[in-house]
Symmetry: C2
Subunit: 161 residues, 2 copies
DNA sequence: GTCGCTGCAAAGTCTTTGCAGAGAG
DNA sequence: CTCTCTGCAAAGACTTTGCAGCGAC
């Protein structure tokens, strides 16, 4: 019946490819390839979670303390990557924006409004229905995004105590 | 930006019922029923959009300037309403939280990237699939938001000329 | 060498909190 | 009367920006 995928490791491109595309993107826009930018891209690639700027910064500080990367650089690079559609941000109020690489297979999000946890899923039926709806309304679909908000199992248990 | 069509006045509860439930909730928790709290609930009820705390505060200041309601009270009341599951906060990717009453029907959006027109739709198949998915993952859905981006019929015709 | 990039700190935003007076019950 | 609520302003949390030196090209 329901074919729900929750596999986060499903990368559609290899890191070398991603890096090469990123370098090309920078060159195209007369921007510079810096070690900070590489480390941010690499850390995003190696993370299977949606990262906040702060969490990303923390991971980088741990792995490459000698770079002493500033949080401002993380914010600036994330903006750049988002504008270039290399990463996508999901914003969730109290905990700020979270970022993920845009190169994973298409998926939608379940967002817990209690704890902020984000779970991914893909449903073929919904994808198909979107096609049907847009065709019916003579709408030429280029992209879509879906978020389901609610309370995850863990938080329901907490509330019920 | 284009206005969101406002054909979703479909409330599942009447205001009197909502207000009465709210009063009961307050009493139950030894909280007080104040004019500010009523006005915030009423404004949320009468709004067809997801409101930011700032937008909500602005609406209230316009309609009831004599109350001189503080933004802090709006934040505090929204927190209270959210904790009580009277309103749900969510984010459409932009900055900050947006709030809406928990009693409205779901709706999805078709967004034309050419002219900015936003069309609403509801698809029973998709609603059903969302139920199935969330049940399977033991997720208690409170809301969902789906945006399909593309080019509407009118803009396609324009482009074809 | 040029000009974009970086870290730092200061400045913005948005949201929460402490307080003393106002007001609901 | 009591004890919560409110507006105000100050404090926090999160993000952006100005600047001077650094570093990619």
């Amino acid at each position: 019946m329901a074919n729900i995928t929750t596999d986060f490791n499903n990368k559609t491109v290899e890191y070398e490819q991603l890096l090469s595309d990123f370098k090309q993107l920078l060159k195209k826009n007369s921007l510079k390839f810096t070690i900070q930018r590489e480390v941010i891209l690499e850390t995003l690639y190696n993370s299977n979670e949606h990262l906040t700027p702060e969490a990303l910064h923390h991971l980088i500080q741990e792995k490459y303390p000698e770079l002493n990367t500033g949080i401002a650089t993380v914010y600036r690079t994330l903006s750049l990557l988002e504008d270039s559609h290399v990463v996508t941000s999901l914003s969730f109020g109290a905990q700020g924006k979270k970022y993920e690489l845009d190169v994973k297979i298409h998926h939608d999000h379940l967002i817990c409004t209690e704890c902020g946890k984000i779970t991914e899923f893909v449903d073929e039926e919904i994808e198909k229905r979107q096609q049907i709806i847009t065709e019916k309304l003579h709408f030429k679909m280029t992209d879509h995004s879906m978020q389901i908000y609610g309370i995850c199992k863990e938080c329901q248990d907490k509330i019920d105590h």
